[in-house]
């Protein structure tokens, strides 16, 4: 299928998912926040997080078998992937959200705080890719 149609359709599904979660139990579908809350939250606040993540990971993995799947083999250097993972975990915790919480949900709520976060992480991501790919002597 067409990449653009897939992208818009996938985006709509993500938006519907966030709407369902807010409508049903009043929660924001921010993945980093949902993950982080598993360890620190009171007992009654954990089960929905596990249920959401289980649904996302299992169905996502199943659908990926029928979609243009990314390469399964390791494509990045281990130190780079470890550094990137650490920064994503650290930054989303400090900044209270990631692409889903600040992006999909925060922008949907017309939150200035989220708009500032989205602008910042996109600019930082673009600057990082520029340094990695286009500066003289860059790795790739």
């Amino acid at each position: 299928m067409n990449t653009v149609i897939n992208a818009v359709l996938g985006g709509i599904l993500i938006g519907l998912a966030a709407t369902l979660l807010l409508w049903s139990i009043g929660r924001i579908a921010g993945i980093s926040g949902i993950v982080n809350g598993i360890a620190g939250s009171p007992r009654g606040d954990r089960a929905w997080r596990v249920a959401f993540l289980a649904g996302m990971m299992i169905v996502g993995a199943v659908v990926l078998q029928f979609a243009p799947a990314p390469p399964r083999i390791q494509t990045g250097a281990t130190p780079l992937l470890l550094t990137a993972g650490f920064l994503v975990g650290f930054g989303t915790r400090v900044g209270n959200g990631c692409t889903s919480g600040h992006g999909v949900c925060g922008l949907g709520r017309l939150s200035w705080r989220s708009a500032a976060a989205v602008a910042t992480f996109m600019a930082a991501g673009m600057a990082t890719v520029y340094v990695m790919r286009h500066l003289p002597g860059s790795a790739s």
Binding site: G11, L64, A67, G76, R113
Partner: protein
Amino acid sequence: MRSALLAALGSGALFGAGLAISGMTNRFVVLGFLDVFGAFDPTLVFVMAGAVAVTAIAFRFVLRMPAPALGGAFRLPSRDVVDPRLLAGAAIFGIGWGLAGFCPGPVLVGTAAGLHDAWIFVPAMLVGSFCADRIAAP
């Protein structure tokens, strides 16, 4: 209680299906979006536009309800202030995002689908979050 868990499971399922269909689990598609001075790939723009188009309209109606459909209360971020902590965290996240092209949702789906890159990334992501809790607690 049970219906709340089913709703969370269903929401997660839709979310995961959306991430898989849209191509966001492929970190090179995401890196292409961030590569504005090179081989730019607009896929993420279409995904974000589709998602925000839905939330921007639907959230207005949902938040007019006195309470969520299955009970409890709406739990929204209480602050809407742009502070240095927010910007620093977003910048650190953005650098990590730009290094690998993974953010938390897609990389967790990637882990379940057996992507080797995701299996290396996710433990480091959890350690990063844990460290932020210890040394940068609000």
